[in-house]
């Protein structure tokens, strides 16, 4: 305890001195200018929604041997709960927050002042405005319909989302419970927001106009029908990946999961492939954002980490971006060429979510899903 208190006092001391030195300019500093201060701070804590933070940690400490990066792999939903609790307790554990679930992050973390935006000046002109504000998006991630390409060598077994509600796919669609993982609730929400497109796709599938039959929109109708069709809910995306992707299956299901999990095909013995040609869209594409704690204990090191995570000046962004430069993740920096093995972003048909729109009806969609379970 005594050591901890001493450490905290030290941290506060450093915080005060750097704050005084910084005088508001710390946001404009280059990595070289940040480095001596960051070395003085000596360590930095990162909350990350992806396990790939482990590789970032190794790479960062290789690049900056004097700074100890402590990376913690915590799901977005849990980060939100944790950061709120920490704020209430007046404790700041994390310096850097790397998170998805932006609809909730914007309202519950950014607007409440728990986290703050930061864009490294080095990359400002190379990240489109929409990915710089209100928070810096490092890359775009996905929740899309995937199928088993070993069992379906000629391409996706379906071409329309509505096919998932037919008898052919009864008990053969897998996804994570939207009430347990926020990005799946975002997916359901987006389907409702895109009701017009869902309505058009319905006609393409069944040849006649949709009968809402009590539902308030085509998107809701789809969700109701999907659950009625013995949709299988599991606990994590990896469960979906195994169910859909495992090799040697005669009649594998399809499921919603992360496009980038395809990177594990070789290691895990999967045959995951995205059903990109499904109409109206295979799923959603959403930003993974980087932010600072509003009062980080290690302000310079925290900024250095974000700078590092945005990639260096080499062709594909160097060691900071390497864990994320994979097929199925779309780096937001415009000067980094798209990954050669993935569907190019422009051809990728998944819906881009609009976090503020999603936030408006997300709770209602959660309630709808609840009544269907």
């Amino acid at each position: 305890m005594a050591r901890l208190t001493a450490k905290r006092l030290g941290a506060i001391g450093i915080l005060l001195s750097t704050a005084a030195l910084a005088d508001g300019h710390i946001d404009d500093m280059t990595a070289q200018e940040l480095l001596p201060r960051a070395q003085e701070e000596g360590s930095v804590v990162v909350y990350s929604f992806t396990s790939r933070i482990g590789r970032v940690e190794t790479a960062f400490e290789e690049a900056y041997p004097d700074i100890d990066l402590q990376g913690f792999d915590i799901s977005s939903t849990e980060q939100i709960a944790r950061l709120k609790a920490e704020a209430q307790a007046g404790v700041t554990n994390a310096d850097v927050i790397y998170i998805s679930d932006t609809p909730v992050v914007l309202t519950e973390l950014l607007e409440t002042g728990i986290i703050a935006p930061y864009v490294p000046p080095r990359v400002t002109d190379r990240v489109p405005e929409e990915y710089r504000s209100p928070l810096l998006a490092q890359r775009l991630s996905t929740k899309v319909l995937m199928y088993n390409e070993e069992s379906n060598p000629d391409g996706a077994p379906i071409d329309n989302l509505w096919a998932l509600t037919t008898d052919d796919w009864r008990g053969r669609v897998v996804m994570v419970d939207p009430l347990q993982r926020g990005d799946y609730l975002d997916l359901m929400t987006e389907i409702v927001l895109r009701s017009d497109e869902m309505s058009t796709a319905y006609e393409a599938q069944f040849g006649h106009a949709i009968d809402l039959d009590g539902a308030t929109s085509a998107g809701e109708r789809f969700i109701i029908d999907l659950f009625d069709n013995d949709l299988i809910l599991v606990g994590s995306t990896d469960d979906v990946n195994v169910a859909v992707g495992a090799m040697g299956q005669d009649n594998p299901p399809v499921g919603f999961t992360s496009y980038s999990d395809r990177r594990d095909n070789a290691d895990e013995g999967w045959a995951l492939q995205v059903a990109n040609d499904v109409i109206p869209a295979p799923g959603i594409i959403f930003p993974a954002v980087l932010a600072l704690a509003s009062e980080p204990q290690n302000p310079a090191a925290a900024r250095l980490v974000i700078d590092f995570l945005m990639g260096d000046e080499t062709q594909t962004g160097g060691p900071g971006l390497a864990p994320f430069y994979v097929a199925g993740d779309y780096v937001t920096r415009t000067d980094i060429p798209p990954h050669p093995d993935a569907v190019p972003l422009d051809d990728f048909t998944a819906w881009r979510i609009a976090p503020t729109e999603t936030a408006k009806i997300r709770a209602d969609i959660g309630d709808l899903v609840l009544t269907l379970q």
Binding site: D73, A89, G90, G171, L179, I232
Partner: protein, 581 residues
């Protein structure tokens, strides 16, 4: 000095016997248990969360939000607690009272399942019985060409089986401890009078151990209804929800108000059941069975049934212990979960970081986070076992010696409360309670102290319950004689009650240590990166798809638990030589 500290005669006259003690104990329990829960209730009564009550109880959501999960929860509670008493009682009877072969082996094995985290048992079940409903790889049995129907692979049936096989060892521990202290005078008197084994069982053993049976049933009921991991893993693919999975889901998606309401209702429902159980026990007034004299009775001779009963016990025990352990160990070595028994590697245990393997995560022996978590977990287990047994002993002593009055009843009821609160809700309540500064007291969020305090409170029912079952059996006459010779409260406690009750207290201490070392639900919210514990680290690896690391850590947890238990049972046999025969 100790003789006059608490038991001053002047205060006795003023307050009546035990009032000071009762007040102190009640105050401790209220601060530990009632206040955090009260915070939770108050939270749901705020203007912007109060509608959660109508959502849960009467709105269009209520069927799925509450009533259906409630039905599953009650079914699980009743079936699992009944199954646990039958199974645990049967094994305890075999081990303590009969001449079944290898009874020590049975005794040790019967305590093991409780040390296996229930999520590990559920994972082992699906590794064996998983069918192709969820696609992907099938379980071992289906892999052998035997079709597994959905009802056996998923949902309520496997949940009931896994939970019964998990909690029966809790019932075993409690019932065996009680059976071991059945006064031989009673049994011998019956034998001399010509009573047969069956008659002795029904006429003497059962009535004397009734408190333990009810206690065991209550604990298993409460454990089963609040268990999260098993119904979550086995129920989700067929969309089976219990109140605890519902509560977890609600808190996970940020609908804290609804989550708390479900938690509060779960508390009330379980409380009603436990109240009934308590009434059954409190009708009897004396359970004193360890008195100043008496010894161990002869064992029942099972004759021809010795080996068949042994075989029956072993089938259950192997299914509950050996099988999950083999699956856990195998999957901590197998790189691909599809081929559990081939291509084994020690990388997950002792490998150095290799970028091309498991995303560069080193084996657990070289992982600083895991080593740190191990230290903290052991410290936490020891601290909580000590603080828990201290408070538990105080509470059980108080209620056993001063049974009359509303305060004793209140102590018992409050001591029971945490049982009814799912760990995750208790964790959430503690964050609300001690997460922010209270007056001059600093916020405890992220400190070791918060983990210790919350875990002590959360596990108090176990310490109180095991302490009580034993203390009630320590004859009051011993203490009376001590009091007449002038021994004060502290002296009587340390010279008579504790030495005689040490078996039960140690059993309670082990239960607490083991429970906290492998607990997930309580610490999953209290956990902070700066204060990691093993089970949460394991859970994180499991949820990220690194099942091998998770299982390796689980094997470590298992090893710690078993070592602790063996150590404790060694201590017990030394302290109670009269139990050896």
């Amino acid at each position: 000095m100790a003789d006059t500290a608490v038991g001053g005669q002047g205060r006795r006259v003023l307050f009546g016997p035990g009032t000071v003690l009762k007040t102190v104990v009640l105050a401790i329990l209220v601060a530990l248990i009632v206040l955090p829960l009260l915070r939770t209730v108050l939270f749901t009564l705020q203007p912007d969360t109060i509608h959660a009550w109508s959502d849960v109880l009467s709105g269009r959501l209520s069927t799925n939000l509450f009533y259906k999960p409630l039905g599953n929860t009650l079914l699980i509670g009743v079936v699992v607690s009944t199954g646990c008493i039958l199974l645990g009682g049967f094994l305890a009877w075999l081990v303590v009272m009969t001449n079944v072969p290898f009874r020590k082996t049975i005794g040790v094995m019967a305590t093991l399942p409780f040390m296996i985290p229930s999520f590990a048992a559920a994972l082992a079940w699906s590794a064996l019985f998983r069918n192709d409903r969820v696609g992907g790889q099938v379980g071992w049995v289906q892999g052998m060409g035997i079709g597994i129907p959905d009802w056996l692979a998923w949902g309520i049936v496997p949940t009931l089986i896994v939970l019964t096989l998990h909690y029966f060892s809790l019932a075993f521990t409690i019932i065996a401890a009680a059976l071991a202290t059945v006064n031989s005078d009673l049994v011998e008197a019956a034998q001399i009078a010509g009573a047969k084994g069956r008659r002795i069982l029904m006429g003497i053993v059962l009535p004397v151990t009734l408190p333990a049976l009810v206690a065991a049933g209550s604990l298993c009921f409460a454990g089963a209804v609040s268990n999260f991991a098993t119904p979550a893993l086995l129920g989700l693919p067929v969309r089976m929800q219990t109140l605890s999975t519902r509560l977890f889901g609600m808190i996970e998606v940020g609908q804290v108000g609804r989550g708390y309401v479900i938690g509060i209702l779960l508390v009330l429902i379980s409380a009603a059941f436990l109240w009934v159980g308590n009434r059954l026990v409190s009708g009897r007034r004396s359970y004193a069975t360890i008195t100043g004299k008496g010894g161990r009775a002869k064992r029942f001779d099972l004759r021809g049934a010795r080996w068949p009963l042994f075989a029956l016990a072993m089938v259950v025990l192997v299914a509950a212990t050996v099988v999950p352990v083999i699956v856990l160990v195998a999957s901590s070595l197998a790189p691909s979960s599809a081929n559990l028994f081939s291509g084994w590697t020690l990388h997950y245990w002792i490998g150095q970081s290799d970028p091309g393997f498991a995303q560069g995560i080193p084996g657990i022996a070289y992982n600083a986070d895991i080593v740190r978590a191990l230290t903290i977990t052991l410290g936490l287990g020891a601290a909580v076992a000590f603080s828990g047994m201290f408070v538990g002993l105080l509470a059980s002593y108080t209620t056993a010696r001063y049974r009359e009055g509303w305060m004793s009843a209140a102590i018992m009821q409050v001591g029971f409360l945490p049982l009814l609160v799912p760990g995750i809700a208790f964790g959430a309540a503690y964050i609300a309670y001690l997460g922010a500064p209270i007056g001059p007291l600093p916020a405890l969020y992220g400190t070791f102290a918060l983990l210790v305090i919350a875990a002590t409170a959360y596990l108090l029912p176990f310490s109180v319950q095991t302490g009580r079952a034993v203390i009630q059996q320590v004859g009051g006459e011993l203490e009376e004689s001590a009091r007449m010779t002038g021994a004060g409260f502290a002296r009587r406690l340390s010279a008579i009650t504790i030495p005689l009750a040490i078996r039960g207290l140690t059993a309670g201490g082990i239960l607490i240590f083991v429970k906290i070392v492998r607990d997930l639900s309580l610490v999953v919210l209290l956990f902070t990166p700066t204060m990691p514990v093993l089970s949460v680290v394991a859970y994180r690896y499991a949820s990220e798809g690194f099942a091998q690391f998770a299982n390796a850590i689980t094997v470590v947890i298992l090893f710690i638990s078993i070592a602790a238990s063996l150590l404790a049972s060694g201590l017990q046999s030394k302290s109670q030589p009269w139990l050896q025969n």
